[in-house]
Symmetry: none
DNA sequence: AATGAATGAGGATTCATTCAT
DNA sequence: AATGAATGAATCCTCATTCAT
């Protein structure tokens, strides 16, 4: 009555099923909370099969983060650069990002959890997430520099750091508060504020903060 | 006359030692990562003694969060309300908060970790943290309402949500990036931005975002 | 119907029971063959209780070896030094040792197994056994030096090494061949041979081997 | 034309590689310590390929012992029977054996480990080793009988047992102590002692030990 | 107020082996 | 001749918790 033995073994399919199961569980319960037994139960493969596909738990979680990030990247399409004002373009980009985050991408939820931990032997997933994060900050800085060429490097760095960090915070709020929070509206507000600040910094060359 | 000193059972002292140990470990490794055995090893008391002071692990973690929050509250003194402009007052408050966060209060780090998880049986520590968080948002809304009386309730709620959420994000960034990040400067920038937005919202009574 | 819970917990007794069980199994199957589950089953305590008494498997095996050695040492009483010839004294000592080895002391069987292995991370039990072994060689050298004062150090070292090594071999043979092998007789022969060699070396000061 | 070289399946080569890997690992860690996965990793072939060449783990280990023994036998050439005294001949043979043992043949190290164990289901490798051992004892008895025809059967058996057992012990000592131990010198001493004993037994026909 | 000892459930991981291809 | 994938049982060990003292 129980399936005899999976015929026509298909490694790729299995790997996907394991990742799916692990992603769901890890997004709910974090690194330590993700038991191999639970993943095994949810994907239908025995625990030992998971170890055929992934070296260990760390490897599995890292793969979850990487795959989730790639999926998210290809899914999120930034709006075309139609001929509207820089401010409008930034706001539309922020809204697009916000919309892509409403689906709660695993890499971001899991990554932030890992980022907050400081265990002696850092999980590889954390390292990977922090790299992703740093690439993102770089991208934001690029965009800022392109839109407001008169900004100096220090100001750009400051703005990029602020923009990305605050975005994380908004995501966390959406995470905890649920849909009472209008993520798109908050991201648009966020974009306006950062743009204001950028203009401020650009025009007052020798001013305060 | 026999034992060197501090041999007669001292419950308060023991409780403090346990909380100290648990706080350190929980800040490093999160809820699941905090093993009773590890706490026992770090504080020097046997595991069974921990259960004399705390009902269970959940109770212990909750106590850690509560104590850390109280410590943080009493340590952080908001600057006096001298007669300077509202904007200056807000910026000075933000800087004071930033300074208090540089020490990485456990309740915030741990609380954010817990907040990001979504396990079926919610740890009490998470509930407590979310309450703290909501009180904080209320406080921010109060201040905003006092400083800019002409703001309507919806705008105040939006601003308070944004202000607190972005602050969380800045804290996380400081957490992951370390001291390369100037938390005080970022909080001051943050205060300026929020204040700008508030003024904007106050003057354009009937506009969109 | 199953015992409610061991009342009047008695750590020392439990420790002894665990060691007894581990000694039996380890003597049969060696280091890797000694499963904690098997020890648990034989001693009646759950596996987790074994870890209360011993840090890990290595610690347990080491304790087995140490205890077995101590037991053996106190059990084996060397014969009094009545006024007979040196040769007779040596032979009587060898016979006493042989008799004590017929009971197959665990430390020796287990120790030799461990000694033959060369795993990268050496089990502590192996180190302990080799120390015991080296102390034994020292004792033999002492006795030889006392009985035949004219022997030089190099000869004494050679003889002691030979005496102990061959004794190991005889023990192994007894182990594998069973009681068809008369261990006492072989040890007496061994003693005679070594004594002959000692006399030889003592009288031919400047000879070959 | 495509693959660089040695791509077309070569069963004999693979079998050799597996045996090499298994021999290394088994000599390090014994029977239980030799995992199929470890062998697979060291020889570069997947675990399932090992099962193509060998029925099961027991079969593999047995093959390791057998091959090692054959290699050792053909490598060790006993010295010619030139016209010197029986004693000199025996000593030269012992030295030759010692020299062949310095390379630590796997069959002997592994065999002795297996011999010391007493597990319910005896590994075939153990049986094979004990047979080898018994053949060796027979050979030694033959030689002794040829050189000293006046010895009775019981004495010959005793001497052969002693000779082989002590040789094992010397090998073990070399194994544990390393090259501080001069195996050739010890084997020469050993040969002298046994020869002395044989003469003794031959001349005192009706005496005790 | 504290603790030594115990306990069952579960942790991650490795085991020898099988089987379809 | 070989192998990628799978599998259930076993591995050592840690978990949070309890209880008698």
């Amino acid at each position: 009555m129980s399936e005899p033995r999976k015929q026509r073994a298909n490694g790729i399919e299995s790997r996907r099923r394991i990742l799916d199961a692990a992603a769901e569980i890890a997004a709910e319960r974090g690194y330590e909370g993700t038991g191999i037994a639970a993943v095994s139960a949810r994907c239908g493969l025995p625990a030992s099969s998971i170890y055929w596909h992934f070296k260990d738990k760390d490897d599995l979680i890292t793969a979850v983060i990487e795959r989730s990030f790639e999926t998210w990247l290809t899914a999120m399409e930034l709006p075309g650069e139609q001929g509207d004002s820089p401010r409008e373009r930034v706001v539309r980009m922020a809204a697009a990002v916000a919309r892509s985050l409403v689906g709660t991408p695993d890499f971001l939820r899991l990554g932030l959890m890992l980022a907050l931990e400081r265990r002696p032997e850092e999980p590889r997933g954390r390292t990977v997430f922090l790299q992703i994060r740093s690439v993102a900050r770089g991208k934001v800085a690029e965009i800022a520099a392109a839109l407001l060429p008169e900004l100096d490097d220090a100001s750009i760095a400051l703005l990029a750091t602020y923009a990305v960090a605050a975005a994380d915070g908004l995501f966390v709020a959406h995470q905890t508060e649920g849909d009472e929070i209008d993520l798109v509206r908050l991201f648009e507000l966020h974009a306006h504020l950062v743009f204001d600040a950028a203009e401020h910094l650009a025009h007052s060359r020798n001013g305060s903060p």
